[in-house]
């Protein structure tokens, strides 16, 4: 054993020095959200290529999918027409409710919400490491994107901006192990933190054991942390494990957004939470 260490002394010294330097640098520079000029130079080379390759792949997949689905279009069309009639009826009802809501707001003198300023963007690449969940979008600081801005799509919360380059930005998805979002259960208003696991399913943490939550309950953003506007869909409860002991309960959540099919997103540039 001693001989081994004597023989490898030089190598071990190099390894230890390197690890020490890296750990020290990590401790000093914890935040890396500001892109430096050399970061931008590399992204300037790779991102356009990612854009091209991604467009070709997505185009091919879409073309294949369209061909396979063309047989079902007639049947879908019939069903959609029926669905459309139902939706029109519901839309009329909702319009009425909207007017009623506006009247009640005026009565309560609530502050009118400002329109949210959003910018649409296309996903051009995904994280190279399967343990982390982030995507690159084709909008950057030239379009006014900043670190921390919320990213959504039609279905709900996608994530938030973690790094900004001139024409591109990186978005940390809800499912990333470093992601946590303050959320409330829509039905019972119980509050917890939706934490990413690096898996398609997230965990709802710090939910009191006595709080009312069941499978199928929906989670929306609380707006408390002032990052996401209040009321955006985060996910749906898929499993509740309430033990006989402990302060909290284990709740698993399926995000509202299907991250496997994520193509277009919106970045919220300003908001009135």
């Amino acid at each position: 054993m001693l001989e081994f260490f004597q023989g490898k002394f030089k190598e071990l010294l190099v390894i230890l020095t390197l690890v020490l330097v890296l750990v020290t640098v990590n401790a000093v520079h914890k935040t890396e959200d500001k892109a430096r000029w050399y970061d931008k130079a590399i992204i300037f080379v790779t991102a356009p290529l990612q854009y091209v390759v991604n467009s070709v792949i997505k185009g091919s997949v879409r073309l294949t999918g369209d061909y396979v689905l063309v047989q079902d279009i007639k049947e879908d069309n019939k069903n959609l027409l029926k669905e459309n009639q139902k939706l029109l009826y519901k839309l009329n009802q909702l319009t009425e409710l909207g007017f009623e809501n506006a009247r009640l707001r005026n009565l309560l003198s609530l502050k009118e919400k400002l329109p949210i300023n959003m910018i649409s963007s296309v996903v051009i690449a995904e994280d190279v490491n399967s343990s982390f969940k982030s995507v690159r979008i084709d909008r950057g600081e030239e379009e006014g994107i900043n670190v921390g801005m919320p990213v959504i799509n039609y279905y709900g919360v996608v994530g938030q901006i973690i790094k900004v380059y001139s024409k591109y930005s990186d978005v940390m998805l809800v499912t990333d192990p470093n992601s946590s979002i303050d959320a409330v259960v829509q039905e019972s208003r119980a509050r917890g933190i939706v934490k990413g696991q690096g898996e398609p399913i997230c965990k709802l943490k710090y939910l009191n054991r006595l709080d009312d939550v069941s499978v199928g309950y929906r989670l929306v953003t609380s707006g408390i942390e002032q990052r996401f506007p209040k009321g955006l869909a985060v996910g749906e409860v898929v499993k509740v494990n309430r033990k006989n002991y402990g302060v909290t309960q284990e709740v698993l959540v399926r995000p509202s957004v299907d991250f496997d099919k994520l193509e277009e997103v919106f970045v919220i540039k300003n908001q009135n939470i």
Binding site: L18, T46, D127, V128, E199, E250
Partner: protein, 178 residues
Amino acid sequence: MRFGPNSIYGLIAFLGVIFASIIIQSTFINGVLSPYLYPDLLLVVVVYVGLRRELVEGILWTLLISYIYSLHSGFSTISSSLFMLLVLFASRYIGRNFYLLTKKEYFLGMAVPIFAQKLLLTLWLHWYDGGLFIVPIVQAITTTLCTVFVGFFMLKLLTFIDVWSQRLDASSLIGKKG
């Protein structure tokens, strides 16, 4: 360390492989395959560097690779460097102490450092999780196997580049440790 007339082209080709790996991994592989089947192409490059480069050159390549890697991932540069260096030193140790002549030996030579890295990363990211812990471990195993499978072809490509650029003598590869 050998340098031939084609060394500069070899260097460019090596960088080209790194950038191509990043682009393929972040678009084609992650866009089409299941997360359980993602091969980590850059880990193969680090394994190769561990087997075929001197210590200092290997460390420099690894730091460069991990820096580029971190620009295309949620992995921070420092953490990425530490985990990549682990692969470098593990593959270097294996390459210097074991014969990697048969496909089985190459399989183990590649799988051990890559799996060690993925396992440590999994433990680092999920140590506080109870129930979901098993899923990332399974993913670490399957992605390691996929990486090793693709790794055979990548190692051949990288060896070809080194032989072509005269960094490696083709005859020296026969019966050589690592």
